[in-house]
């Protein structure tokens, strides 16, 4: 067995709505894979099928070498997007209950729970009721519940949503740590930046179809660099620098963005050549090639493919928060 997950031609519909269509997916053992795409793309549905919570209408699945996750549930850790705790249960008892359901032997569970609570900066909450914890704290408790049985495969659905930056960093470390211990990790997010920070590989889903499946570096290399960033030498040079850059052959237009001034290039132009010319001809303090982000790649693929959404609309869709889209998808069933 070399693959943690294999999906072939998987299709899932809810009533008339097609949630996932013809999905082929392979996840290597030991990797850290991001499942990305905007809200409502079909990420959660795909994950639920992997978890055997939903069953595909068509197609084949293999999870950790078994036909279905039903046979390997104890080796999988899962943090769903729709997550909660037993409000009236004590934190320690809740984690123990989940661990026991995952087949962990009774001996030593208490000690393990204590260690994990310390690890996520929640010492001494074991005897508190879950409802007494804040939402972020509850999320850390849920994370412990998904990894305490040392799973071979860890699936995290939107793990960062609702966390503050400090806890986001902590969770990122914990996820990487899991991978270093040999766990195969898959996590889904609609915030592409998060995937870029953590993953070696991403699978991109859009409107139920897989549109991309590659390593981060390979994906970025696919999209040619089409803009150059620069900063004027002094604030007084802003106008001169912008007009000098605009007049360079191959530069389409110059925008001011939150990353500085950005010179957009025409198709087929050698970016390195433009970079050299800007450096020699314009009064600039800094000039660099803007590396494409995952979001750029996504927008490039989707806008090129369907064309029914403008680039701005697509970017807005990626940035909108909330999970209402995915919930509605269920309701329409």
């Amino acid at each position: 067995m070399t693959k943690a997950i294999e999906m072939r031609g998987v299709r899932k519909t809810f009533g008339k709505k097609v949630a996932v269509e013809g999905l082929d997916l392979e996840v290597e053992l030991g990797g850290l894979t991001g499942l990305i795409g905007p809200n409502g793309a079909g990420k959660t549905t795909s994950i639920r099928m992997v978890m055997a919570i939903l069953f595909p209408d068509k197609g084949e699945l293999s999870i950790l070498g078994k036909k279905s996750a039903v046979e390997s549930k104890d080796q999988i850790g899962y943090l769903p997007e729709e997550r909660g705790v037993y409000k009236k249960m004590k934190v320690g008892a809740f984690i123990k209950h989940m661990a026991r359901l995952k087949g962990l032997p009774f001996d030593g569970i208490g000690r393990k729970v204590g260690e994990w609570l310390e690890r996520v900066d929640l010492p001494g909450v074991a005897d508190k009721k879950c409802e007494e914890l804040s939402k972020g704290m509850q999320q850390k408790v849920q994370f412990i519940a998904s990894v305490i049985h040392e799973p071979k495969l860890l699936i995290l659905d939107e793990p960062f949503s609702g966390l503050d930056p400090v806890n986001m960093r902590l969770l990122r470390e914990l996820i990487k740590e899991q991978q270093e211990h040999g766990t195969t990790v898959i996590f889904s997010t609609h915030v592409m930046f998060q995937a870029e920070q953590v993953c070696d590989k991403v699978v991109m889903i859009h409107q139920g179809h897989k549109v991309l499946d590659d390593s981060i570096d390979a994906i970025k290399a696919r999209v040619p660099t089409r803009s150059v960033l620069f900063d004027p030498l002094t604030p007084n040079d802003t106008h001169a620098a912008a007009s000098a850059v605009s007049s360079i052959g191959g530069v389409d237009r110059v925008d001011r963005t939150d990353r500085g001034h950005e010179a957009h290039l025409m198709d087929g132009v050698d970016a390195a050549e433009v970079l050299r010319r800007i450096a020699s001809e314009a009064p600039v303090a800094r000039v660099e090639l803007r590396r494409p982000t995952l979001e750029d790649v996504f927008v490039d693929i989707v806008a090129g493919g369907s064309g029914d959404l403008s680039e701005e609309q697509l970017r807005a869709q990626l940035r909108e928060g909330g999970k209402s889209v995915e919930v509605e998808e269920e309701v329409s069933a």
């Binding site: 769903p80 729709e82 989940m98 069933a333």
Partner: protein, 486 residues
């Protein structure tokens, strides 16, 4: 190891949590004992309140138009004696309630006193008015004899006019008019006549009852005398002491409780009804809680929907059994400590059927409850599903009495074969004085078993789909679609 595709260990773990989070809570323990406490404390209280509810101390005057000419005075006396008797009883009760008090002294103006006063030739009106001050807790009605030929409508007008005006002494107001027929005492051509009472509006029914009693007693005594009988002799002749029927037992005899046994036939059924309704209700609540707190998908990462539902159903079954054991135990304890309950027994068939019927009835109701709980997002939305399920449970409750009276009527036999009421009905029939043949019991159990399997199958499908559905609660059509989908 797996049973029906489920891991027994996981199912047990879910069941244990379900039981612990329901039955091992303060709320449950208090609730369990509040119910019998209400029965033990409140019921006797209500019964004693009903028994001791005497007529309110109404004061007023009763006009009597005595066309027979011989009854009026006696009606007045009877009313007075009744008041004296009630007053004496009340005094006695007060003395009993207050243990420190020595035996109550015979109250002056008691029955004996009155009789001697009247025998000595005192005016009835004066004696009645004297009683006014002494009797505080009983109604006192002074009688006022009108002309034999008085116009009844005129007196009625008088009462109407009095009702309209305010103030005045209560005792002087008319509470009504009693008209005694001329042939009430002496037989006329059409047999004996009677009496008619007209009262003011809203006169307490117990007061008018007292007046009617007095009228009847007075007329009867007069009839005896007119026919030449001695009233005392007749009373003795017609009175026969009633003795309790005794049942012959192996060693001797004991008071028969056949009537009670008939009521008790429904007891095992009620025990199951309470246990099933409680377990089912909790199952609904905890399922909705798991859904609304979003813990359900976390659970589904560890157990399958079927394992979760099975565990929950078993856990709440344990809760129902605990309840049945506590109440059943209290009942058995009652048999040892309450003489009236001693000797109550159930046929062996009831003891065999009881656990089977409990499990089958519970499986049917609980699976419907689990399905309802999984389909909705909050308790409020569950109401529309709860009503039909609760009505199913109310059915045996209403049918209990007619079925225990006619355990082998056609409707009893048919209902004992129709799930989901079948387990309840067969239990009533088995516990009745005329139990059904064994084949009918077996057939009923089989019918209930099929019903339980169908309910579990349906619930399993709805549960699997419903758990992850958030949004508008489904209607029946959607539920059927889910069943096809799952």
């Amino acid at each position: 190891m797996s049973v029906f595709g489920m891991e027994p260990g996981k199912v047990a773990r879910v069941a244990v949590r379900e039981f612990a989070s329901t039955a091992l809570t303060k709320g449950f323990i208090i609730g369990v004992f509040v119910f019998p406490a209400i029965l033990v404390v409140v019921m006797p209280l209500v019964i004693s309140l009903i028994n001791s509810s005497k007529a309110p101390p109404v004061r007023g005057t009763l006009a009597i138009v005595d066309r027979s000419g011989v009854v009026a005075e006696d009606v007045g006396k009877q009313l007075l004696f009744a008041a004296a008797e009630a007053e004496e009883e009340a005094a006695q009760e007060a003395a009993e309630g207050d243990e420190a008090a020595p035996t109550a002294p015979a109250p002056s103006g008691g029955m004996a006193d009155l009789q001697s006063q009247l025998a000595a030739g005192q005016d009835l009106g004066a004696v009645q008015r004297a009683a006014l001050d002494r009797y505080t807790s009983t109604p006192i009605i002074i009688t006022e004899v009108r002309d034999t030929n008085a116009d009844i409508e005129e007196i009625q007008k008088e009462i109407r006019a009095e009702q309209a005006e305010e103030g005045g002494d209560e005792i002087d107001r008319l509470v009504g008019v009693l008209v005694v027929d001329s042939d009430a005492v002496v037989k006329g051509s059409d047999g004996y006549g009677s009496y008619q009472l007209f009262t003011r509006p809203k006169l307490d029914a117990r007061v008018s009852g007292d007046i009617e009693d007095a009228a009847r007693d007075a007329i009867r005594e007069r009839r005896y005398a007119a026919a030449g009988f001695n009233a005392n002799d007749l009373r003795e002749l017609t009175t026969i002491e009633k003795r309790k029927t005794e049942e012959i037992t192996e060693t001797g005899t004991r008071e028969s409780n056949a009537e009670f046994q008939m009521i008790l036939a429904a007891a095992p059924m009620f025990l199951i009804l309470i246990a099933v309704a409680t377990g089912g209700q909790y199952l609904l609540t905890t399922t909705i809680e798991e859904k609304s707190s979003r813990v359900v998908e976390v659970l589904l990462s560890a157990v399958s929907a079927t394992e979760l539902m099975t565990g929950k159903i078993l856990g709440q079954m344990l809760v129902g059994l605990t309840l049945a054991a506590i109440y059943g135990g209290l009942g058995v304890a009652g048999m040892f400590f309450i003489p009236f309950l001693a000797g109550v027994s159930f046929a062996p068939s009831v003891l065999v059927l009881f656990p089977i019927c409990f499990v089958l009835a519970y499986m049917m109701i609980a699976s419907l409850m689990a399905a309802a709980g999984s389909a909705v997002n909050e308790l409020r939305e569950a109401q529309s599903f709860m009503v039909p399920i609760m009505m199913l449970l109310m059915l045996p409750y209403f049918l209990a009495f007619p079925i225990s009276l006619n355990p082998n009527a056609v409707y009893s036999v048919v209902l004992s074969m129709v799930p989901p009421v079948s387990p309840f009905v067969i239990l009533i029939r088995a516990a009745s004085t005329d139990p059904p043949p064994v084949w009918q019991m077996a057939a009923s159990v089989v019918a209930s078993g099929i019903g339980a399997l169908v309910c579990l199958w349906f619930a399993g499908k709805v549960f699997r789909v419903g758990l992850l559905m958030f949004g508008k609660p489904p209607n029946l059509g959607t539920l059927i679609k889910w069943v096809r989908m799952a």
